[in-house]
């Protein structure tokens, strides 16, 4: 069990790390997919089967591919070499995060260790139980999520295809005056 955890943790960290360092964006996306699968493994480790399946289905299956498509539709997939990978003043960003990690997260974690570190308890998780809970007290939130999904995705379609912009393009002359000073 421990071995599996460390293995998966390593893969996860590796995946995430690579994602933010690789210059080639496609490689970055694939490494993120690796990260997502490692996380699915961790979920399985924690006996949350359904969540692992959903994680694979949603993240690796659709969000991953969405990312790939997005990259396909935009330029400098490989990342132009002459510009640094990091944005301006990335050092400050790094420092801020490190400060957060050291100053805040770790102390909090150390403090929560209050309860007894119960080992990994084994109970047979069942999707039926999740289904019942989902239907019983949380039915409304299910509805809300459904609504959010539809609205969000329709909005995404409109924004992506630029339907409105297309019409605008017809009316607004191509050489739109840009703001003078920026």
């Amino acid at each position: 069990m421990i071995v599996a955890f460390y293995l998966l943790a390593l893969i996860a960290v590796l995946g995430a790390g690579l994602a933010i360092t690789l210059r080639n964006v496609v490689h970055a996306v694939f490494s993120v997919l690796l990260f997502f699968s490692a996380l699915a493994g961790l979920f399985l480790l924690l006996l949350a089967e359904f969540i692992a399946a959903v994680q694979v289905l949603v993240y690796i299956g659709s969000v991953g591919i969405l990312m790939l498509f997005a990259i396909m539709l935009t330029t400098n997939v490989v990342g132009d070499p002459n510009r640094p990978v990091q944005s301006r003043g990335w050092v400050w960003g790094g420092l801020a995060v490190v400060a957060l990690l050291a100053g805040v997260l770790l102390p909090i974690i150390s403090r929560t260790g209050g309860q007894s570190p119960t080992p990994l308890s084994d109970f047979n998780p069942s999707v039926k139980q999740l289904g019942l809970v989902l239907m019983d007290p949380y039915f409304a939130s299910l509805g809300v999520i459904a609504l959010l999904l539809t609205a969000g995705l329709i909005g995404a379609v409109v924004a992506a295809t630029g339907a409105s912009e297309a019409d605008q393009a017809k009316t607004v002359p191509e050489n739109r005056p840009r703001f003078p000073n920026n």
Binding site: W92, G93, A96, L100, G103, V104
Partner: protein, 668 residues
């Protein structure tokens, strides 16, 4: 009071002035073409005429007496001003006379003015005048009477100044308006005094009215209110001043001769038959007030007599045909005042009928004379100077004959209507006050004399004017003929058959004095003979001097220049006016100085406030200063918002870190 109740009450009387009012409004606003406007005005007046005849018939019936219909117009401070109409013999007669004569004059002027571009406007003003006159005649409240009085004054101003492009016409209109205004001032004072005394305007109000016994006795109870007159007398005097202004009695007569600038039908209608008679009518209407104080009656008769004599004298020296007639009107009005004054003194209530009867007859033959003069002027190519006329008789037969009939009636040729009415006046003058009688008699003699002078000038001899004499159209001669018949027959008919005098005054009037009859015959025939004698054979014309003038050199000059009354007024009133103007200017400068100083003070203080406090304190230090300091700090903050997305994220995380640390450290 109900307009549509034609059964018994007299509410429907209002229709009489309403018809001409509708005509005025129609012509005034829609401005139809000339011919159509004349038709509208005539139709409206015809309708009023029919209703007036009905009213006139009602006054003859057994239930004659005073019928009134009053309504409250407005309520002011608890007092409700009431208006109303009254129907008594005086109203009935006047209504019939005014509408009948008016209609004839309307028809006459339809053809007389047919070529004038402002015909619509002319008929509009005429209808307006009719509204005023008819309203005045039948109004039962002094205030309402005063209102119509003003409308009549306005109409006369408009009509005199009809050809406003002529400066003399405009000046004459203004002069007429102002002088009548002075008279109206007296009327107004009388009005207010009456209201103050009796708190009502109504003349006949079922006992409470001004002219009713109860009020009269209450008024006359207060003695020696002013100049030794009692309450009623004072009111009567003021009303008489109004009458003097309106009817052109001695002090205020200057406007009437100049009023001849207007078109002839105007002169005929307003300055002969109706409007000038309004003053006499007023005195007749408010006769009970006059009766309450004998001295007022005396004043009335003396003013009347003096005016009659003066006007007759001046008429002798005039060469303008219309001006002669104007002065004759003034003298006849004087005689009417004598009729009323002396009549009052002689017959108390009966006096009303004497003055009114002469007013009615005078209306007919004076209108005839004016219309005849109009026809002659029209015929002689708009020539008004009698010295340039002559020989008109054999050219304009019908007009001349009618004109002569009118002249005879005016001279009181026996058995004409003038003779009967003037005879009554002389009778009452004789019984009342000898001096007044002799003045009136001499005035009548002079009247006969200057009328024959005028007739000789115009009709005898050969034509001295330029161009052919055009025959006047039938529409002008028809009214002349009708008026001629009336001026001749009216006297006999009304005196003998209808006893108009008892009808008018309500009590039996029967005066007999043979000396007066003889004197009147002598006056009439003597005057005519004297005139024929002097002017019959003589050489008349522009170059030849007037026979009278030849002999009485200077006094005749005085007559020609109307006793220099106008110049007198100029000298006195005008100079007075100028003096007051100078005074005002002086006062003005004093006030000016005061205002100046105050202004200086205020601006000084204002300056101080704005400069020191406003600029320095508020602008620099407190308000603007703060603003631009905010602006500067705003610029400072803007640097942070530089659109660098990740910069924002970093600041967020930094904030999180700080919060976390704080939480950890403190929330143990």
């Amino acid at each position: 009071m109900n307009l549509f109740d034609f059964s018994h009450s007299v509410g429907w009387l209002w229709w009489i002035p309403l018809f001409p009012l509708m005509a005025t409004v129609w012509l005034g606003f829609f401005n139809p073409s000339g011919k159509f406007a004349a038709a509208v005005a005539n139709a409206a007046l015809l309708a009023s005429l029919l209703l007036s005849i009905r009213a006139f018939a009602m006054t003859w019936g057994p239930e004659a007496g005073v019928l009134t219909a009053n309504f409250t117009w407005i309520q002011v401070a608890g007092v409700n001003l009431e208006f109303g109409v009254v129907l008594n013999p005086l109203t009935g007669a006047m209504l019939a006379m005014v509408t009948f004569v008016g209609l004839l004059i309307f028809l006459y002027s339809t053809s007389y003015m047919s070529r004038d571009p402002g015909m619509t406007r002319f008929f509009c003003y005429l209808s307006l005048f009719m509204v005023g006159m008819l309203g005045l005649v039948m109004s039962n409240s002094l205030l309402l009477l005063f209102m119509f009085w003003e409308i009549v004054g306005l109409a006369s101003y408009l009509l005199i100044g009809f050809w406003f492009r002529k400066p003399s016409a405009a000046a004459a209109a203004k002069k007429a308006f102002i002088t009548t205004r002075i008279g109206d001032l007296g009327f107004l004072l009388g009005l207010l005094w009456a209201f103050k005394a009796t708190s009502t305007f109504l003349l006949f109000d079922g006992g409470q009215g001004l002219l009713e016994i109860e009020q009269i006795t209450a008024l006359s109870a207060t003695k020696d209110v002013l100049f030794g007159l009692n309450g009623a007398g004072v009111i009567a005097l003021f009303l008489f001043i109004g009458a003097v202004g309106k009817s052109g009695q001695l002090p205020l007569h200057v406007w009437l001769p100049d009023a001849m600038e207007g078109p002839t039908p105007v002169s005929a209608l307003i300055h002969a038959a109706t409007m000038v008679a309004a003053g006499v009518f007023l005195v007749a209407r408010a006769f009970p007030l006059f009766l309450a104080d004998a001295t007022v009656l005396g004043i009335v008769s003396w003013v009347g007599a003096l005016t009659a004599l003066f006007a007759a004298l001046v008429a002798l020296g005039q060469y303008d045909i219309k001006r002669i007639l104007a002065y004759s009107t003034v003298s006849q009005l004087g005689l009417m005042m004598v009729g009323l004054g002396a009549g009052g003194l002689a017959l108390s209530e009966g006096g009303v009928s004497i003055g009114t009867f002469h007013l009615l007859t005078h209306a007919f033959f004076k209108a005839l004379l004016f219309l005849g003069a109009g026809a002659i002027i029209h015929g002689c190519g708009h020539e008004q100077d009698i010295r340039l006329m002559g020989g008109v008789f054999n050219r304009m037969k019908v007009a001349s004959i009618c004109y002569l009939a009118g002249a005879l009636a005016l001279c009181a040729f026996p058995f004409t209507s003038g003779y009967y009415s003037k005879d009554q006046i002389l009778l009452s003058a004789w019984t009342a006050h000898g001096a007044v009688f002799w003045i009136s008699a001499s005035a009548s003699l002079l009247t006969a004399f200057y009328m024959t002078r005028q007739c000789c000038y115009v009709f005898l001899g050969d034509y001295r004017g330029k161009g052919p004499i055009r025959q006047s159209p039938s529409l002008m001669t028809a009214p002349l003929v009708i008026l001629a018949i009336f001026s001749l027959a009216m006297g006999i008919v009304s005196e003998e058959f209808y006893h108009i005098l008892t009808y008018l005054s309500g009590i039996a009037v029967d005066q007999h004095a043979w000396i007066v009859v003889v004197v009147s015959w002598v006056i009439a025939l003597g005057g005519i003979a004297l005139g024929l004698l002097i002017y019959g054979g003589s050489q008349l014309g522009l170059d030849a001097t007037d026979p009278m003038k030849g002999s009485l050199r200077t006094p005749y000059a005085w007559l020609e220049n109307q006793f220099f009354i106008d110049e007198l007024y100029d000298a006195t009133v005008a100079r007075l006016w100028k003096a007051s103007a100078v005074l005002i200017v002086f006062l003005e400068s004093g006030i000016h100085f005061l205002v100046e100083t105050v202004r200086g003070l205020v601006t000084g203080m204002g300056g101080f406030l704005s400069k020191t406090i406003d600029q320095k304190l508020i602008d620099q230090i407190s308000f603007d200063g703060v603003c631009d300091r905010i602006y500067k700090s705003g610029r400072l903050n803007a640097i942070i918002q530089n659109g660098f997305l990740q910069g924002y994220l970093r600041s967020v995380t930094l904030g999180a870190v700080i919060l976390g640390v704080l939480y950890l450290v403190f929330a143990r």
